[in-house]
């Protein structure tokens, strides 16, 4: 039971890391390798609010979320749009954006180093035990999971329950066909990319309450998000959620029952299995 709860909590953490990239890659078709840096920037915001303003780190969401949305919109509008226009096919767009965002991640690391310095930033917030069925769990991790549930729920509803969401889904399935039925594809893509960035930064705020970070740790989160997005299937919010939970449960089970040293091996084994037997991901559509 402990393993189950711990695993779900970890899975929710992973969902927070990966949800933004799902939107950016699934809809806007941009494999954003600077995703982790956006998360770290959000975490920096929370850290600053907590230490300098002495208020709840979640207050950072008030300015981090709009700022991340705007920044990502600008990135899409001015850096990614030319690449989208130039790309002859999806493969070319992927290669181009991977290279461009890879470079962008270095720019972000440099900027954060300049603004925040290179030290670890860590603080204690809600680091109290919360008992579920008699076992203690970190309250900050529970709050993170709750946030993950809210964000995933909102995204799922937004994408599957609204007209704008339908447009976004249509773009995810086929940008060309979506354009034919009067969907503003560039606008929907830019919106999805910006929203993805905002979600990632929100994840950063929440994760900063229990993870120690520094300016150059973003790549760790990018890698995790990448695995989850590819496992879950491109552009499917459900897939990413399921993949996060599977990873969280598998890692916790391996760490508790076998050996904590094998968690990474277990994660990559799952990844390889999915790639072998369902290369399109758990919920992905087979390419025709």
């Amino acid at each position: 039971m402990d393993i189950l709860i711990t695993g779900v909590l970890l899975g929710a953490t992973y969902a927070l890391i990966a949800m933004g990239l799902t939107l950016q890659y699934g809809v806007a078709r941009i494999m954003n390798l600077a995703n982790g840096e956006m998360l770290v920037a959000g975490a920096f915001g929370a850290f600053w609010v907590f230490t300098a303003q002495k208020t709840s780190p979640f207050a950072a969401a008030l300015f981090v979320v709009p700022a991340a949305f705007l920044l990502n919109w600008l990135i899409y509008r001015f850096l990614m749009r030319p690449l989208v226009r130039r790309a002859k096919n999806r493969g070319m767009l992927e290669v181009d954006t991977i290279l461009a965002t890879f470079g962008l991640s270095f720019v972000f690391v440099g900027l954060m180093l300049l603004v925040f310095g290179g030290e670890f930033f860590t603080y204690s917030y809600l680091a109290e035990p919360f008992r579920i069925l008699g076992s203690p769990f970190g309250l900050n991790r529970l709050v993170a999971s709750a946030t993950a549930v809210v964000i995933c729920g909102a995204l799922y509803w937004g994408i599957h329950g609204t007209r704008a969401g339908m447009a976004v889904r249509a773009v995810a399935v086929d940008p060309t066909a979506a354009g034919l039925v009067a969907i503003d594809v560039p606008k929907a893509s830019a919106f999805a990319f910006a929203l993805g960035g905002a979600v990632t930064a929100t994840g950063g705020i929440v994760l900063s309450t229990f993870l120690t970070m520094d300016a150059s740790i973003g790549v760790v989160f990018t890698m995790k998000a990448l695995i989850i997005v590819i496992m879950g299937g491109v552009g499917d919010v459900r897939g990413a959620i399921i993949a996060s939970l599977i990873l969280g449960l598998a890692e916790t089970a391996v760490a508790s029952l076998l050996d904590p040293g094998l968690t990474l091996a277990a994660a990559y084994l799952l990844f390889v299995l999915v790639l072998l037997f369902r290369p399109e991901g758990l919920f992905g559509r087979r390419q025709s």
């Binding site: 310095g117 290179g118 670890f120 680091a127 203690p136 993870l211 760490a255 508790s256 040293g261």
Partner: protein, 399 residues
Amino acid sequence: MNRRSVFALAVAAALSGALAAGTASAQAPIKIGAVAPKTGPLAGGAAITHWPNIQLWAHQVNERGGLRMKDGSRRKVEIIEYDDRTNPGETIKAVERLAEQDKADFIIAPYSTGLNVAAAPVYAKLGYPQITATSITDKIPELTQRYPSIFFALGATTTLAGSVADVLAKMKAEGKIGNKIAMVNVADAFGIELAEVSRPVFKKAGFEIVFDRSYPLGTQDLSPIVKGAKAANPDAFVAWSYPPDTFALTEQAKIEGLNVKAFYTAVATAFPAYGGKFGKSIEGHLGAGGINLDSPEIKAYMAAHQKVTGKPADFWASPVTYASLQVLEQSIEAVGLDRKAVIEHIKKGTFQTVMGPWKFNNQSIDKYWTVGQWQNGQFHGVASTGLPGAKPVIVKSGW
């Protein structure tokens, strides 16, 4: 004023500024190269322990008017910094670049054990002294024999592990703790080496290791580890850990209510951020390092560090790093810019540093702090290999 004349004015101002700078200092500054992580996995540690000390040292030397050379002249120092991105290949390239392109007179040793060992051959080949302040290894005898330019100041792995065992054994002998130890380590060169070294040492000291696990570097959830350790019901918890996991293990142990009488985490326990994050709940926590906070030199050093860099020094390798720069400073003042002579001087001389008098014995300092403990909001040295000022060890009082 039109745009062109503004431009002309600016050019003129820039030119005159350059000329003035050229004539003002007749003696060109001594070029000191520095290469260490500003990005990558070790950047966080380097930003606390390594870079601020270089800043502080250069500031203090230049404020005094520069280094006092043998001929009576004063030479200021100029620092040239490179980021090695925590990549040994980059460290080596940067050292070569500093020597050949920037014509640095001296190059400060890199940060961490791995990067220093990787760079040792290139320092030796180019003939630059490499006074390391952040490397811990059992290979000191081999390395110093192979590389005449390398110096060690932070200690050896086995000594560090043995000292932890000694501290715990003493607590056991005094009846303060039982004989059950839960030990975890980060699965990385540092953690694996310490875990392997400490297993026989703990057993020899009469301890039973009831829980012994490793975890990968960068694990985001350490609660299974702490749950496992708690289930084994230990008297002492020892973690050969790195900064992010030192923080995470401590927080998780607090949440799980892992009640041990002795709690040890390795790197980063001596960081001021550790005390800042956990406040009073870490009273009695043991960690790698420690310093003598009662020494007047250390007091003055801590105050200057805060004033010049705007942040506190750590309670372990920070003053050692600063002392390594003092060694370089005093050697240059004694024998000049001849690197060969400086290396010989470091091997034989005695140096007055913030860590007290230093004399290298076979290119290594053999008196150093090994274990420290948080007591009343400060991290004091409680065990060393012969340094004065160790505080008595206290029992961890709970969370």
